[in-house]
Every structure is written in C-alpha cells, then in structure tokens.
C-alpha cells in the first residue's frame, strides 16, 4: 500500500464519520489552541512590561528609601532626604539630571466630585523628562513655583477626566486636603507602568508636599525625607561606576555601612531581569498546563481509535481476506490517527491564532502570537497522534482474519 493510498483511505474514513472525527479532534484542537493562546498571552505580557520599562525613560538609576533608621517606638527618621539629590548632582560624575519624588495620599474635591485616597506626588522640574511624560494641556510647574511653594497642580490624564469630565480644567481650582490648588496642566495618557498608574495621580511642587502633606518633625535637622531620587546618567558613562559613586556618597552622608544602608540603588536592567524571570516562570507554567491538555487530547484519540478498531473489526477481516498484511492494517489505522491529530492540530492553530487575536482585541491584555509556539503546538499534536495512535493500530494489525470476519 502506497502512502498516498493509505492517506486516501484514512481521509475517507475521517469523512465517513464526520461527527466522531470532530469529537476525536476536539481534545487536540483545545490543546493546540490553548498552547498558542497561553504563550501569546504571556509573550504579550512580557512585551508590555518591556515597553513600559523602556518608557520609564532611558538610563535611569533609581535610588529608593529602603528602610527607616530608629528602633520601635521611635518616630521614623532616616532614609533619603531632599538634600541627597543635590549632593548626588554635585558629587557624582556622569549624572545629567536628578529628580526627587515624595508622595502622600489625599482627598481631592472639585465641585460635586470628591475623590478619596488620591496619590499626591511631590516632585521637581525634571520629572516629565526623566519619566517620559508629556503635557497635553497647560504647562508643568517651574523652579520658581517650587521655590515659592506655589499652590499649583498638574493632573494625571484619568484624574483630570474624573474630576472635570468635559470641562477644561486649566485655571480651575481643586481642593487637595485642605488646600486650594490651581490646575495649571494635564498630562497625556501614560497608562500602567509596572504597578504604578501614572494617570490617576496629582503632581505638585515637592516643596508644597513637604509643607502641607508630609511635614516631618525632623525636617529641621535632617532635611525633608523623600521616597525616591531618579538619577539620569550620561548614556556613555559607566553605569556600575556611577552606582558605586552614589552608594559611597550616600553611605557617607547617612553615616551607615553598605550592609545597613537605608537606601537601595537599582537600574532599569535590574527591574527588567526581575520581571523577565517572573514572566518566564509564568510562561512555562502555562506551557505545561497546555501540554497536559494536548496529552489528554492524545488519550482521546487513542480511545476513539480503539472503539473504531472494534467497530470496524469486520472491515479489517475483509481487508485481510483480500490480501492486506498486518502492516497494511497497522499503517491504515496509524495514518488515520495521524490525520485526525494533524487536522485537529491545523484547526487548533486557526482557533489559537484567532483566539489570541480576539482575546488581545477584546481585553486589556496584549497578545503576541509567536511562530515558534505554533510550530511547537502543531508538532506536538502530530507526535501525540503518532504516539497514541500506535497502540490501537497495532491491536488492529494483530486481529485474526477468521475471527475478524465472523465479528458481528
């Protein structure tokens, strides 16, 4: 029997039992499409994270307050202070800009709209450039306004939407906590970066935040504490060297050792690596789950093929009586199992690609369909078909022609 003839017989057998063929393929279809969709979702998540991290702005070093000095019962103290920023700008070579940020949470009111627990971010002039944000309406505050502790505010995109709706916010006053602040600008939409929603925050001159929203009793001695200092570095500078310089400077200023430091220095690369290892673990978990469903699909094929062999015992007997060898019978049923799994695989690829596309279009999650996942899923479906199809085919080939012919 030539391969083309085996394929023709298998094809006809598949067509003769359309419903059963479809049900047999269902497991494979689900398995293959699950692999493709799940890999597409995790690859999409990964790509989104990459993009967001890149959009943080380039060549940033993050200096973050990591712990407060002082024992239990004592008021919090230590960590980064405002003057550290200036010290870094003056004392570290290769630094192009330094931006400080301190945050709080307040209630914001405009007219009838009251929003509670809105994040208030006090920052400096370099913030939009360092965090890669653009003003869509109005303007950002300047050094003079920080100096004078001017009551101005720049709103994140969605915060402005919630407070003002259709009204033009520029020139309006909002009440933040107990202070009236003039809206001078609105940022363009930025979206989620990691866990931070840049669009739902209010941006204030850092001096106002120090004075009104996070007054510290130690500020007189220690300076105003800040959550984060962004250090933008010269792209050609040696990053490791700059990190070392920052660490040495701050260790000296804070009078701590590196092991007990009240700050941490990280780079974008560190963040990317952490995220990558998380998503890689996520992706391999999804791939395993999908792989298991492929195996279940394979067992489905084996089941149906075993039923099919029993049901077609008579046919096997007829074929044997007119000269089919055991190998002819084995090839016939193996080809049928392979054909079912390959057609199932192809349908699965279509469903998977379509599903991933529709999922990406309808949900907030991004999906990236990769050719390698298609090949992997399709290839495994063929292997699964061959593996689980062999046993029923072998059973068929071992039938005794006389018994098979007698089978009712």
């Amino acid at each position: 029997m030539k391969p083309t003839e085996a394929l023709t017989i298998a094809w006809e057998a598949v067509l003769k039992n359309k419903i059963r063929s479809l049900l047999t393929m269902l497991g494979i279809i689900i398995g293959v499409s699950a692999v493709i969709i799940m890999v597409a979702i995790s690859a999409g998540t990964e790509a989104t994270i990459q993009d967001q991290i890149t959009s943080l702005g380039s060549n940033l070093v993050f200096v973050q307050s990591s712990m407060m000095r002082g024992g239990p019962g004592q008021a919090q103290q230590g960590g980064l202070v405002y003057d550290d920023a200036a010290a870094i700008e003056d004392g570290v070579t290769g630094v192009t800009a330094v931006v400080v940020e301190q945050n709080s949470s307040e209630t914001i009111k405009y007219g009838d709209v009251t929003l509670e627990d809105v994040e208030i971010l006090g920052t400096t002039v370099g913030f939009p450039s360092v965090r890669d944000m653009e003003i869509s309406d109005g303007r950002y505050f300047n050094d003079q306004e920080i100096e004078r502790k001017s009551k101005v505010v720049v709103l994140g995109y969605s915060l402005a939407q919630e407070l003002f709706g259709e009204t033009n916010p520029i020139g309006q006053y909002v009440k933040i906590g107990n202070t009236k602040q003039a809206v001078i600008g609105v940022f363009t939409e930025k979206g989620l970066v990691g866990n931070t929603d840049f669009d739902s925050r209010a941006y204030l001159p850092i001096s106002v935040v120090f004075q009104k929203f996070t007054p510290s009793q130690f500020a007189r001695f220690m300076g105003d504490s800040v959550r984060m200092i962004y250090v933008e570095v010269d792209p050609d500078a040696n990053l490791d060297n700059i990190i070392t310089q920052i660490e040495l400077l701050l260790v000296k200023r804070h009078d701590v050792t590196l092991d007990s430091a009240d700050f941490s220095v990280t780079t974008q690369q560190d963040i990317i690596s952490t995220q990558e290892s998380t998503t890689a673990a996520f992706r391999s978990l999804l791939a395993w789950v999908a792989g298991v469903s492929l195996i279940v699909g394979g067992i489905g094929i084996m089941n149906i093929m075993l039923v099919s062999v029993t049901e077609r015992t008579r046919e096997i007997g007829i074929r044997q009586s007119i000269g089919a060898t055991p190998n002819d019978i084995r090839i016939q049923f193996l080809t049928e199992a392979l054909l079912l799994s390959i057609i199932g695989g192809l349908i699965g690829v279509l469903v998977g690609v379509g599903g991933a596309y529709i999922f990406g279009a309808l949900s907030d999650m991004r999906t990236v369909i990769s050719v390698s996942s298609i090949l992997l899923a399709f290839g495994s479906s063929a292997i699964v078909g061959a593996f689980f199809g062999y046993y029923p085919a072998d059973q068929a080939s071992k039938l005794d022609p006389i018994e098979a012919l007698r089978y009712e």
Partner: protein, 248 residues
C-alpha cells in the same frame, strides 16, 4: 501434461484446536485434489470441519499438520505476511454475507484487492478500468457508483464476485454464496458461477444445501473432519487424464 494441473492438493491436513488437555481435532487427515477449471462443492453437516477446511484452503489459517499445495506451491508453512500475499494473488473470496465495505461504492469495493497487490501493481486508471470490466461482466455496469446499501442482496453478491475475480486468482472460494439470498437471486448467482466456470474459473463452494451442491461437478462430503464420500454430479464432469480420488 495435457490435462489440467492441480490447483488444490492437500496431504493429510489436520487441524487441532485447543491447548493442553482438551484438544479437538476439527480436521483429521484430509486428502483432496481439485484440478484447474473444476467446480467443486464441499458439503457436510455442522461440526464436520467444512468451515475449518475452507479457512485452510483459503489461506486464512494454517493446518496443524499435513501439507497443502496451492497451485503447486506448498503454502502450509508460510507466515502471516506471505499468506496475505497468497490470498491477494491466488484466491478470490465470495462470502455468504457479501462482506463489502459499507459506504463504499461498488467500483471502489471491486478495486480494493489492487490496493494490496504488490506483485503486479497497477495504476489507478488501470485498476478502475479493470474493475469496470469486471462489474460489466457480472451485469452491474449501470450500478458501479452505488453503495452496498443501495443494492439488493443479489447485486451485492455480484459485486463480491467481481471483487473476487479482479486479481485473476487461480481459484474462487465461495462460502454459502446463496445462503442469504431468495431463491430467484440465488439461482442467478449460481448461474453466474456456472458462467464463470465455463470460462475456466476454478470454483470451490462450501455449502450445506444439497440442492445447491448438485449444480457442481462433484461434491466432497466431510464427516467428522474426514472426507467421507465424493459424489460426481454427472452432467458437468470434465475429462481428466487421471482421477486421483476414489469415486463412489
């Protein structure tokens, strides 16, 4: 040899079923000799071993002991694969239940033996052409694309006969070919077998019906796994140079 040569020659064919202590001998030293062009019936009551003999003659199973020469070749020691090839090349089967593939046209059913023909492989066109010729020969030229369920019993048996003849076998084995048919269709099938016989086909027919057996040249009667009697049915007897069996 001027006379027709032996198609079937068995020497002391024995078939024992069962393992260990309980053994049943279905056949117990069967010697038969059937010549080319003969039309022979094998008859016997239930349990006489006629089905077992048919299976061995049809190369569907092997004897426990003894030798079986089919068309001059000893086939009693062949393995499964070789037996399959012998069935394909030398034997055409006609079954009581027709045994056509369901949901498959008459034409496709008839071409089926070509699928397993490794000795003289044919192209698809050649097989279809030959199958059409065979179907016309059995009088089904107009029903080639019908499926078995669209055909009457008699017509289905004609398809089976066409299939049995497609690979030019040295003999046709017919197992109760009229058993599932009404009298009229049965007569038609018997007439068709006669026609084939007259054209030179060797036919071995297994039957329990004496009225059917009488249409053959001679009847081999089996009782308890042995050849009991051989009856000559007269009118169709052909002349042979030697008569190796003992005529009653």
């Amino acid at each position: 040899m001027s006379a027709a040569h032996s198609i079937i020659k068995t020497v002391g064919i024995t078939k024992v079923y069962g393992m260990g202590d309980i053994q049943v001998a279905a056949l117990n030293g069967v010697n038969i000799d059937i010549h080319q062009g003969e039309f022979v019936a094998i008859m016997g009551p239930s349990g006489s071993g006629k089905s077992t003999l048919m299976h061995i003659l049809g190369c569907l199973s092997q004897p426990t002991a003894g030798q079986y020469f089919l068309d001059g070749e000893d086939v009693s020691q062949l393995d499964k694969v070789q037996l399959a090839s012998v069935r394909n090349q030398k034997i055409g089967f006609i079954f009581q239940a027709y045994n056509l593939l369901a949901r498959t046209t008459a034409l496709q059913n008839v071409t089926l033996p070509f699928l397993y023909n490794r000795v003289n492989p044919k192209t698809k066109e050649e097989s279809l052409k030959k199958a059409r010729t065979m179907l016309e020969l059995v009088g089904l030229g107009s029903r080639m694309n019908h499926q078995p369920h669209e055909l009457s019993g008699g017509q289905q048996q004609r398809v089976a006969i066409a299939r049995a003849l497609i690979n030019d076998p040295v003999m046709v084995i017919a197992d109760e070919p009229t058993g599932n048919l009404d009298t009229r269709s049965g007569t038609e099938i018997m007439n068709l077998l006669h026609q084939l016989h007259e054209q030179g086909t060797t036919i071995v027919m297994v039957t329990h019906d004496p009225k059917t057996a009488v249409h053959t040249q001679r009847t081999i009667n089996l009782v308890d796994g042995q050849v009991d009697t051989i009856t000559h049915n007269g009118k169709h007897r052909i002349e042979t140079a030697e008569v190796p069996y003992e005529a009653n």
